[in-house]
């Protein structure tokens, strides 16, 4: 898979307002194709049929949280190992370290600035592309 340019993102988030504002921000400011899912199980289903360049994953969701969703993604032979970036309100250094140890390529803290979040994501993507994958 070519890693040089970020084109498509799946954003998994249970909170509809945040889902819409981030989708809009990445679409308008980042010119990305952004699909969304409202839960971990819905994302797993979606990822068995489609492969985005990157998955943005809310860390705290009811039913199946972000870390569990990531673990199930990695264990599922029908899902390609796309890079995952967490979006979380718990973004202290120890939280970031824990999420990175789980296999995340980056963390975007909540709350985020809708006018700047696309730039933040491109910075993370640059780091992923520089090392050649997720």
């Amino acid at each position: 898979m070519e890693r040089s340019r970020l084109r498509s993102v799946l954003y998994v988030e249970d909170e509809p307002d945040i889902r819409e504002i981030l989708q809009l921000s990445l679409t308008l400011k980042g010119e990305l194709q952004v699909d969304t899912c409202e839960s971990g199980p819905a994302a797993l289903q979606w990822l068995r049929e489609s492969t985005p360049d990157l998955v943005l994953l809310d860390a705290m969701m009811p039913e199946m949280d972000g870390p569990e969703t990531l673990a199930r993604m990695r264990a599922d032979p029908k899902i390609l190992p796309v890079p995952v970036v967490f979006v979380t309100a718990k973004a202290l250094p120890e939280d970031v370290k824990r999420l990175t140890a789980l296999g995340a390529c980056g963390v975007i803290p909540k709350p985020f600035d809708p006018m700047r979040v696309a730039d933040e994501l491109f910075e993370i993507w640059k780091g992923i592309a520089d090392v050649g994958g997720g």
Binding site: E15, I21, A89, M115
Partner: protein, 115 residues
């Protein structure tokens, strides 16, 4: 400002009003629950409170309500400290009441100004 920026700001303002309206309705319900809670008794709404606080913490500042987000973070932190208990001791319940009322009063004030 670009057309994309203007569209994003406009939609953010619309979502902010919707968020405030929903939060205001939820806050009224939680105020009643807290007022009726008793130390040592079962507190079955703990999970719902956590979800409420977490949602406002994560969403508030993104939609332009920074101080509200901060108050929700404080409340969420207290709820985490209380752990997954369904029964709260009096000091923990009092601390939660104080933090929740700060949060709810802010929601009321923002609703008065923006809705």
């Amino acid at each position: 400002m670009s057309a994309a920026d203007e569209l994003l700001k406009k939609r953010r303002a619309e979502l902010a009003r919707k968020f405030l309206d929903r939060s205001h309705q939820e806050a009224s319900r939680f105020r009643e629950v807290l007022d009726g809670a008793r130390a040592g008794a079962v507190f079955p709404e703990a999970a719902a409170f956590k979800h409420f606080a977490h949602r406002i913490h994560g969403t508030g500042a993104t939609l332009g309500f920074e101080s509200l987000s901060f108050a929700a973070a404080a409340f969420e932190s207290l709820l985490s400290d209380a752990g997954a208990q369904d029964v709260l001791a009096e000091p923990a319940l009092q601390a939660l009441r104080r933090a929740a009322h700060v949060l709810i009063e802010q929601i009321d004030e923002l609703a008065r100004r923006h809705l």
